[in-house]
Amino acid sequence: MTNDALANQLAGLSVRLLHRLAKNRVPRHFRMGKNRLIQTLLELPPEQRAEVETALASLLQAPARPPQPPKPGKVDKPKRQPDAVSRPAPAEQPHSVPAKPAISIQALFEGIGVPPPQPFKPDDWQQEAIDRLATNDVILSVPTGSGKTYVAVEAMRRAIEADRMVIYTSPLKALSNTKLTEFTQIFGADQVGILTGDRRDNPQAPILIMTTEILRNLLYDAASGEIDMRLDTLGLIILDESQFLADRERGVVWEETIIFCPAQARLLLLSASIGNPDEIAAWISSIRSKSCHLIQHRNRSVPLRAAYLDPSGKLAPFFRTRDIARGRGFALHPETKRLFANYEDQTLSPRSKR
C-alpha cells in the first residue's frame, strides 16, 4: 500500500482504533494525538508496517461493532457507527477571505473581571419556557450554566400555587442532594422531600426530588394500580440533565419515564446543548396529548475564550480569533501551533524516552 493510501485509511479511523493498531508497535502511543499516531504508524519499519496493514484490513472488514456477548435486549443501531469509519477528521478551515491578523495574548485577556451586581431579570427564553409550561410540555436545550434552574424553580412555584405536586429528577444521587439543599432554601424544608432507593424523607411534601430510576418505578406501580403516592395530583415532572437519554445503560429509564408520564402532568426536560433537540421534541409531541415546545439556543450567557499554556509557562491564544466561533470550523493560533509542535517534538523524541 502506498503511504498516501495508508495515511488516508488511517485518517478515517477513530483514535481508539488507531491506539489499538499502535499497541505493542509504537512505544508510548497513548501519549500521541491522532495526527502524530498516523505519522508514527507510517514510519514503522517494513515488517511492522505490513502487520499494521493486515490488522487494518481486518479492522475494516470486521463488523464495526465488536461482537458482544448476547446482551439481552439491546437494540442494534445500524445508523451511526462511531467506530470503524468515523466522521472525517475535522479539517482546519482554510481562510478564503484574507485572514484578519491573529489576536494577541493581551487582547485575549482583556476585560476579565466581576460585573457589578444587577437586579435579576429573567432572560426571554426563560420566561418563554415558564409561560409555555402552562399549556405544553417543554424541552429546554441551552448551554451549561445558562440558568435552567430558574425555569425549574418558577415552574415549581406555579405548580404549588395551583395545588399540584412536582417531581424533580436528576441522574445522580449527588446532584439530588445539592438540589435538596437549594430547593429547601427557596421553598422551605416542609415543602421539599427526597426519595432514594432505601429512604423517604418528607414524602408528603409537594416537591419531591428523586433519581429518574425511582420515578420510573413509581410509574410502574401507578400503572398496575398499587401506588401509595398521590400521582393524580401530579402537575409537573422535571427531568434535569435529560441528555442522559443517550446513556448506554440508563438511557432507557428516561424513555420509560417520558412514555409513562401521566397525561395530566406537564413534562419539563432540561438538557445541555445536544445535537437533535428538535427530534426529541418531535418524539414527545408524537406520544403525548399536548405538543412539546422546544426552546433552544447555543449562545453562552458568559462568553468563552480559549488559551494555550505551554509546560514552560508560556501562554498563547488558542484560536486566531478572540471569541470561540460555533459551527464554522476553526483556525488555531500560529503561536499555539508552534508551541505545540515544539512540545510534541521534545516530549516524543527518543532522548526523552527513559
Partner: protein, 619 residues
C-alpha cells in the same frame, strides 16, 4: 521539556493572569491527589484571611457532616486554597468542596474528566489537559458533547464578564479534537432503549399482551427506527418506480422466471462440465479410444493402453505405447486421428496396464504397421454433448426459449435483477425496523415463560407477581436465587455481602483482608447459578473482596468507618457507593415482605445495621 506543567506552576500562571478560580480536569484520581500533594513541597500559600474564610466554611460543613472532620486534605485546602474532587471521595467531602467553591474560597479544584457530569459548580476558568479518555480499556477521543460539558463550567453567570478554557498539554492530548469540540455542534442523541425482564413483567402486570406493541411504539427507539424506515420506504418507492419502467412481459414475474431459467441453464452446463466438459470432437473420439486402439499422434502411430481422467482437471488422458515400446501419457486431445485398427490387448490394473504378453504383441504389431493406415471417420454431433433429458426439461418447464419477450428479458435481466434484490433487501430491513422492539420483547417473554414467571398466555404467575418488584440489574439471577431458597436462613451480613457482589460492576482492582469461609462457599453457589443463567442474563462480577467489605461492615456494628477504610485498598468514595448500592438492592428485597416475610426481615436487619456513621449523613 516536562510532559506536563507542574500543578503549582499552573496555579501560579492562573493567579497571575487573574484566571482563578479554576477547575483543572485531570486524567485520573491519582493525578488529582498528586497535584494536591505537590503543593506541600512547593509552597504557594494564600493570605491568612482566605485561610480563615475556608476554615469558617469547613466548620459549618463539619457540623453537618462530621465525617469530614478528619479529612487528610483539610490542611492543604486551608493553606493553599486548592482541593481535589473526584469519585474516590465521600459525597460529604465533595459537597464541602463544592460549597467552598461556591463561596469563592478556592483558587483551583482538581477533578477527573470522567465525572464531569457530577461537577455541578462553575469557575472562571476550566483547564483541559487531555483529548481522550480511557473507557472500558479502550482509549476514546472525547466527544463534542463531552468537551462542551467540560468547557461549559467556565465563566460564572453574574460573577464573570468572560470565562476561559486553558488547554495545556499532557501525555494524553491532541489539539484537533479539543478545537473541534469547542467549536463544533454537539452530536445528536441516539436512543439506547433496552428491553429488560423487569420491564416485561411490569408492563404485563398493567397491560394485556395485546396492548404491549402500541406501548413499545411510543419509545424514542421506535421513533428513530421509524424515521430510518421512512427513509428506506422512500428508497423502496424509488426502486419500485424504476422496476415499473420495464413494462409488461409475457409472464407476470418475468425477473424470477428468467432468473430460474438462466439458473437452470447454468446448472445444465455445469453438469456437463463436470462429467464431460470436453469439446464435442474429443467426446466423440473418446468412445473409440479403448485399449488396443491404434491412433495417430502427430506423424507417428501408437497403441492405446489405457484411458483415464486426470486427477485435477478431469481432462481425458491416454496411456499409449509408441515405437520402441515407450509408454507415455498424453492428453486425449493429442490424438490427431483414430485408426481403423484394434489389436488384442489384455488389460491389467497396473503399469504397463496390460499383460506382458499383450505388451510384446502390441510392440510387434506396431513395428509392422504400414506407414499409412485407414483413419476412422468420427461423426461429431454438435448437440450430442447435451444431456438429452435435461434439455427436455428446460424446454418443458421454461417458456423462455421460445417466448417473444426473450430478447428484452435477456437484455434487461441483469439490471432488473439488481433492482429486485434491492427491493427485497429494503422490504426486509423496513420490516425488521418496524418490528424489532416487539421481537426483543417476545424473546424476553419466552425466557420468562420458560422460568415460570409468565403463563403461556402472558399473564404473571404468582412468581412473576413478586419478581416484578425486583427492578435492578441481574434481576433474573436474584429472583432465581430467591426461588431456589438460596437466602433461606442466611444471616444479614452474608445476605448483604452477596448482594454487594452482585451489585458491584466495577473491576477496578482492590484487596481486602479477612475473607470468610461462609462467604466463599455462598458466592461459589451464586456463581454456579449465574453461570447457568448466562444465556439469558450477563453474570455479575461476584467479587469476593467487595462482598467481604460489606459483610464486615454489618457483622461488626461497632466498627468505625475509618477502620473499614484501612482494611482495603479501595477508595472510600467507592466503598460508600458500594454500600449505598447494596442498600438499594436490600430495600428491593424488603419490598417482597408480603410474599417473602422472612427474607424481607433479614433485609431490613441488614439495612438497619448498615445505616450508621457516614451512611447516615445523607439521604
Amino acid at each position: 521539556m516536562p510532559p506536563a506543567i507542574h500543578p503549582v506552576d499552573l496555579l501560579r500562571v492562573l493567579r497571575h493572569q487573574r484566571l482563578t478560580p479554576a477547575i483543572v480536569f485531570l486524567t485520573s484520581r491519582r493525578a488529582c491527589d498528586e497535584a494536591i500533594g505537590s503543593f506541600e513541597h512547593r509552597q504557594l500559600p494564600i493570605p491568612p484571611t482566605r485561610s480563615a474564610a475556608i476554615t469558617d466554611v469547613l466548620d459549618h460543613m463539619i457540623a453537618e457532616y462530621p465525617s469530614i472532620a478528619d479529612h487528610p486534605l483539610i490542611p492543604t485546602v486551608q493553606r493553599y486554597g486548592v482541593a481535589a474532587h473526584h469519585a474516590g471521595h465521600l459525597p460529604s467531602w465533595k459537597i464541602a468542596v463544592e460549597e467552598l467553591m461556591r463561596q469563592g474560597c478556592l483558587d483551583a479544584v482538581f477533578a477527573t474528566t470522567t465525572l464531569a457530569a457530577g461537577v455541578d459548580f462553575p469557575a472562571r476558568t476550566v483547564v483541559i489537559t487531555q483529548s481522550s479518555v480511557r473507557k472500558d480499556r479502550d482509549i476514546m477521543e472525547l466527544t463534542v458533547n463531552e468537551i462542551q460539558q467540560l468547557a461549559g463550567r467556565g465563566g460564572r453567570r453574574g460573577k464573570d464578564y468572560v470565562g476561559f478554557v486553558v488547554v495545556t498539554p499532557s501525555p494524553y492530548i491532541d489539539l484537533g479534537p479539543i478545537a473541534n469540540g469547542l467549536t463544533n455542534h454537539p452530536e445528536p442523541i441516539d436512543s439506547q432503549f433496552v428491553v429488560s425482564y423487569p420491564m416485561v413483567l411490569n408492563l404485563l402486570k398493567a397491560h394485556s399482551i395485546d396492548h404491549i406493541q402500541p406501548i413499545l411504539e411510543k419509545s424514542f427507539a421506535q421513533f428513530q427506527l421509524n424515521q430510518r424506515a421512512d427513509a428506506y420506504e422512500t428508497k423502496l418507492d424509488d426502486v419500485e418506480t424504476q422496476l415499473e419502467t420495464y413494462g409488461q412481459r409475457e409472464c407476470a414475474d418475468w425477473i424470477a422466471q428468467w432468473q430460474s431459467f438462466s439458473l437452470a441453464k447454468k446448472r445444465r452446463s455445469h453438469h456437463r462440465r463436470k462429467t464431460q466438459h470436453d469439446s464435442p470432437e474429443i467426446s466423440a473420439q473418446l468412445a473409440f479410444l479403448t485399449p488396443g486402439r491404434a491412433v495417430e499422434l502427430s506423424k507417428d502411430h501408437a497403441i492405446v493402453l489405457r484411458q483415464y481422467r486426470s486427477r485435477g482437471q478431469g481432462a481425458p488422458m491416454l496411456t499409449v505405447m509408441r515405437s520402441g515400446g515407450r509408454i507415455i501419457e498424453y492428453p486425449a486431445s493429442a490424438v490427431t486421428a483414430v485408426i481403423d485398427e484394434v489389436i488384442d490387448v489384455t488389460e491389467a490394473r497396473r503399469f504397463p496396464w496390460c499383460t506382458p504378453q499383450s505388451l510384446n504383441h502390441a510392440i510387434e504389431t506396431l513395428e509392422q504397421f504400414p506407414a499409412r493406415l485407414r483413419r476412422l471417420p468420427i461423426r461429431v454431433d454438435q448437440d450430442g454433448a447435451d444431456n438429452p433429458i435435461l434439455t427436455e426439461t428446460l424446454r418443458d418447464e421454461f417458456p423462455c426459449p421460445t417466448c417473444p419477450s426473450r430478447p428484452a428479458c435477456q437484455k434487461d435481466h441483469p439490471q432488473a435483477l439488481k433492482l429486485r434484490q434491492e427491493e427485497h433487501r429494503l422490504t426486509k430491513t423496513i420490516h425488521a425496523m418496524r418490528t424489532e422492539l416487539w421481537h426483543r420483547f417476545q424473546q424476553h417473554i419466552e425466557v420468562l415463560q420458560k422460568f415460570g414467571y409468565l403463563t403461556p398466555t402472558c399473564q404473571l404467575t404468582s412468581e412473576g407477581d413478586w419478581a416484578r418488584l425486583i427492578r435492578i440489574n441481574h434481576s433474573l439471577l436474584i429472583t432465581e436465587l430467591i426461588r431456589m431458597g438460596a437466602f433461606e436462613g442466611i444471616n444479614a451480613s452474608l445476605l448483604a455481602g452477596v448482594l454487594a457482589s452482585i451489585a458491584h460492576d466495577d473491576d477496578r482492582p482492590a484487596s481486602f483482608a479477612g475473607r470468610q469461609q461462609a462467604l466463599i462457599s455462598t458466592l461459589g453457589q451464586v456463581r454456579k447459578v449465574a453461570h447457568s443463567l448466562s444465556a439469558y442474563e450477563e453474570p455479575p462480577l461476584l467479587r469476593l473482596d467487595v462482598a467481604a467489605i460489606v459483610d464486615r461492615w454489618i457483622a461488626e456494628p461497632t466498627l468505625p468507618w475509618s477502620e473499614l477504610i484501612r482494611a482495603t485498598t479501595m477508595a472510600e468514595g467507592d466503598i460508600y457507593r458500594l454500600l449505598a448500592r447494596t442498600l438499594e438492592y436490600l430495600s428491593q428485597l424488603h419490598g417482597l415482605r408480603s410474599t417473602h416475610p422472612g427474607l424481607a426481615d433479614i433485609a431490613r436487619d441488614a439495612m438497619d445495621l448498615m445505616r450508621r456513621d457516614v451512611l447516615q449523613e445523607l439521604p
